[in-house]
Amino acid sequence: MSILRPRLNDFHKIPFTQEEVGFAIPFLDEDISLYVDPFLLWKSPSMQDNSLHLSITNSFNNLGFLVNNRKEKAAIDIIIRASECNEVGFGTSKSRIGKRIGSKLAKSVLDVFTIIPQINKSGFIHFEEIQLLVDSFSKDRVSDIACNFIKSFLIDYTIEQAEQYGIPIEKVKLQNVYDLKNNKFDEEQTHLPVNPINKTPILFVPKRWLRFIPWINSDDYLNNYYVKKIHKEGDEFPDRVKLLRFNRDNYDIVKTYTAIKEKQLEHCKNDPLFRQIPVISAKRKITTISNLPTGKTENADRKYEYNICQLMASLVYPHLDFAQEQSRTDSGVLIRDLIFYNNRSLDFLKDIYNDYGCRQIVMELKNVREVNREHIFQLNRYLNDQFGKFEIIVARNQPLKKVFKNTIDLWSGQRRCILILDDSDIKMMAQVFESKQRYPIEIIKKKYIEFTRACPS
């Protein structure tokens, strides 16, 4: 039985949700599209985070020290080795493996220490300013450099979290661990969780350090500072390269921008790995869904799938983490599914995990006037191939008695459970999502209980 978009805990069958743990749960075969923002460590009330930020900054400024002492080769080696941190798995890679920067870009970064007098003299306080000074230095580099310079801490953190949640660890050899005392990268043998696919070590990173884009970033600088405060009307608008040159020549302007961002620190928040849609948006989606006709008239099926997908992922959070949307074809018909990880966060989720081997919950979306026997059998065939013996059909209307009986017969014959949710259930889920009187997922539990009560004893 396969798992779609597997995460480390799913592979080891360890039941926790993303909400319950303090670190971002790594995927096994792709990156998480978030990044460590060093600014979050700087602004954190935790002294530990502040010290780690200081370590990152000192390690980065040490590159300037090396350059000034004619040890440019050593500095280039460090910045190249620091530029990629595959163990944390942040970015957009579909394979969890990234590439380091080349020596040309490394040289451009180090040149900043000689070109800009203020940096030459005092170094950086926020090294992510490099994005505003050097071309092709993106947010993932900022994140990876930060992670590499504090890798020793991340190793300890990962071991601690792995022990707390019972995640297996193995003996591994890490090639790139930064030694703060000697300011160089070394090998280290330690014990860490490993990716079961390729046996590479995995490091956990606290969720509180993660953002989609760093607080100090070039787009924000350009749109919210340069255009509003520096650029004069009628002047030629600089392209990216010219702007970077301007920044290098006028570093005080960059410093002023950074000082403003420091003052606005209260607005700098970490980004959650999943953000629920607001209640007002959920209500709008319910209205849209209610007004949609069944079938394919004016793409009603696609609109239905789009709205249900957005809505359902939020409604069942945090009890079920959304894995992904999936399209498949069965007998020439395109079928859209939503897949959720089942991390046994509620009693009934534990039941379906144990009784039906349901490690991922599949919800099949059907914008049809009535669910018929063929839909049930189609789904049954699919369940055989891929998932456990539990699935949910999200349809528009309550199923006819004979169809409901089909699902009961399937349970009687093959111990399979197919629940059918309709518009009224979705509306009620949205209602309790708004009122917060109960959890929306309890409506699914209610359907499950109704189903089990209807099963022959």
């Binding site: 009620m428 209602q431 309790v432 009122s435 009187q437 109960r438 309890e442 539990k445 209610k446 209980i449």
Partner: protein, 133 residues
């Protein structure tokens, strides 16, 4: 009925009326919203006490004695059931109270009192809601 039973009935009746009013307000606003577990635990506790006062044949529905938490009862479900219980309570009360009339010097004083152990007591009560004179 004994004095204690009358006292217990009036307490439960009062609580029922209070909760019915509260949930009724919620029900008007959002009839299909689920009741939270905290409220539901008190509602079920009150229903259990009511079921001790009313015999099975005096209760509104056969087979119903409390709400199933997993069935996510809504505001309107609870309002409907409470309405029925209040009706049964009133019927029970009507059967256990009596109208009396006593001469006090220059005038008759009329009142409704509870029957305790089959006899008129001094515990006053309101007239039956369905009886009009």
């Amino acid at each position: 009925m004994t004095n204690d039973e009358v006292e217990n009935f009036e307490k439960i009746f009062g609580q029922f009326e209070g909760l019915h009013k509260e949930i009724g307000i919620l029900s008007k606003k959002s009839p299909n919203d689920a009741i939270n577990k905290f409220k539901l635990s008190f509602i079920n506790k009150l229903l259990a006490e009511a079921n001790e006062v009313l015999d099975e044949e005096q209760r509104p529905f056969d087979g119903f004695d409390s709400f199933d938490e997993d069935q996510l009862p809504t505001n309107s479900d609870v309002t409907m059931i409470f309405e029925q219980y209040l009706y049964c309570f009133e019927q029970f009360r009507s059967e256990n109270i009596k109208h009396t009339q006593k001469w006090f010097g220059d005038k008759y004083v009329e009142k409704w009192v509870w029957l305790v152990e089959g006899q008129e007591s001094e515990i006053q009560t309101a007239p039956p809601k369905k009886i009009k004179r």
